[in-house]
Amino acid sequence: MSMTLLEATGLRRHYQVRAGRGPFGAKAVLRAVDGVSLSLKPGRTLGLVGESGCGKSTTGKLVLGFIPPTAGTVRYRGTDMPPAGTPAWRALRPRMQMVYQDPLGALDRRLPVGVQIMEPLAIHGAKSPAEQRDRAAGVMAAVGLQMHQFDRYPHELSGGQRQRVVLARALMTEPDLLVCDEPISALDVSIQAQVVNLLLDLQDQMGIAYLFISHDLKVVRQVSHEVAVMYLGRIVEQGEAEDLFARPLHPYTRALVSAIPVLGPRRERLLLQGDPPNPVDVPSGCSFHTRCPFATAACRAETPALRTLPDGRQVACHRVEEPALQVAA
């Protein structure tokens, strides 16, 4: 499909870590991301959910070409992502931007926020200072910042305002793609909704595609067209957002969804046993089998592939089509 904005295929990112003691200790491989494929169309939002440490953020950085993948490819508008730091990679930055979890950390505390908002234009040239300033004023208005905040320093603004600054800076070059890595989890609850609404409005107005990384399923449900659920570096289930939340198939997704607090009658909850396994020592077979209430011998032996079901849902589970499982839910 020529309409695809971003296409990631078989992304892997492995880290060498030292498991044993001493400089001669045994080396081990941490598979932060282990075979993730995803695609994103212009103006659409893909939500990426999962527990912390499941590789969501690493996937975000891989997709932007910020860190090189151990294996797999990222294609933006049909072209391979150039290696990070190269002129070609840098020239592509105006097209894709990142919104961070910690806006204070992502801003330079020694520069007024206005200067930082204009920085993408200063880096990629082409515009005069006056034009940069005009553009900054426009974007600041779009994200709900006032012009008198132009000369403020990051520490003089509130958390929500800082995140608006980061957003404004990302929007300066009119990107097609924003990777939002937990963009609201560091904000006060009262501010979260404002920023989420702002993101939705901006998508309507500018047609930006989002890769929305979060562990907050309610927010992901609100912003996403499609949702991918990650567990230990792999996508275990992916589908249309509303459908996936209404009818989760993978036991892990079901556990996550049943943990969302809702009003009304108590539903049956699927509780997970134990903590996620050590990512250096991923269980054999289906990596979820240690916590899955439905695991069988087959699950322990064989890794399930991500299959597409007739209705278009993608699931990586051996037992997903068994009636017994449907009843248990």
Partner: protein, 296 residues
């Protein structure tokens, strides 16, 4: 290295009135230290105007004349040496020389160390390993010994000597810069600016350096007195600044020969060395506690 009781300090705010209030609140010792250092800077800058005599002018009628209140005259307030040269004049030129060497040495060390620290953090891998090895080596050998070996191999000249002083404690800056740059590159403003598409020049020049400058400047208040001590030590041994030029250590070394007959020749520069290093240390400690409680 000294573990201090770090108090979280408020961010400095600008404004003349604030500065004035701060000066009024300075501890007494710090005020004295500041005054002394101001005097030293004035002396070093205005040496040519302040000089009562040429440093090589002999006054053979007033050889080994004692200082003013020990039976001396106004003609030579700090006395004269064996050749009748005015101690005050020589002291003024020595102050200029010692401060100049310490200043250049500090600047060279800071520049070199910062550059290497950034290179290590930017390139990682092989470059970083190499720089870290050099840092380990520098830290594991007393610099006095390294300096003496280099002087033995290359002989002595003023530019070489100043350059050599610049190698003192570069590793301190390299360590600090590498650590802070790595942190900024991993997560934080530098990483964010890189994602915007900025090149290394902009990342390090416009963002990282201004952010770590205060830490580096505070480190300079440690290096500066150390270089004064190192320089005067080497000059004292006759291996530093060579005659006819003179530095504080040089003067002490020369005065040592006359310690029984004319102790003032040695006491005057010794006092200046001690007071100056003491003042910088006091002021540096104070600034460090105020500005950067994280640096110990």
């Amino acid at each position: 290295m000294a573990v201090r009781d770090a108090l979280p300090a408020p961010l400095p705010t600008s404004g003349l009135s604030v500065i004035a209030r701060r000066i009024a609140r300075l501890p007494f010792a710090v005020s004295l230290a500041t005054l002394w250092l101001a005097l030293m800077v004035v002396v070093a800058l205005g040496a040519d105007l302040l000089l009562p005599y040429s440093i090589t002018a002999f006054d053979l009628k007033a050889r080994l004349s004692p200082p003013l209140f020990f039976g001396g005259t106004f003609a030579h307030p700090l006395g004269t040496d064996e050749l009748g040269r005015d101690v005050l004049s020589r002291l003024i030129m020595s102050i200029r020389m010692s401060l100049l060497i310490a200043l250049f040495g500090t600047l060279i060390a800071a520049t070199l160390g910062t550059l290497l620290g950034i290179l290590a953090a930017h390139f990682r891998r092989f470059v970083e390993t190499l720089i870290l090895m050099a840092i380990d080596f520098q830290a594991s050998m007393p610099f006095m010994i390294i300096a003496l070996s280099v002087l033995a191999f290359f002989g002595n000249s003023l530019p070489l000597f100043i350059g050599l002083m610049g190698f003192h404690s570069w590793e301190r800056y390299a360590r600090i810069t590498r650590g802070l740059t790595l942190a900024a590159n991993e997560q934080g403003y530098a990483s964010a600016v890189r994602q915007l598409g900025a090149g290394p020049g902009r990342i390090y020049g416009r963002h990282v350096l201004p952010n770590i400058a205060s830490t580096l400047i505070v480190s300079m208040t440690l290096t500066f007195p150390e270089i004064i001590l190192l320089e005067s030590g080497l000059s004292f041994l006759g291996l530093g600044v060579q005659p006819p030029l003179t530095s504080l250590g040089n003067m002490v070394g020369y005065g040592r020969e006359y310690i029984t007959r004319a102790p003032w020749i040695m006491l005057a520069p010794a006092t200046v060395i001690v007071l100056t290093t003491l003042s910088i240390s006091l002021l540096g400690d104070w600034v460090r506690d105020k500005l950067d409680p994280t640096l110990r």
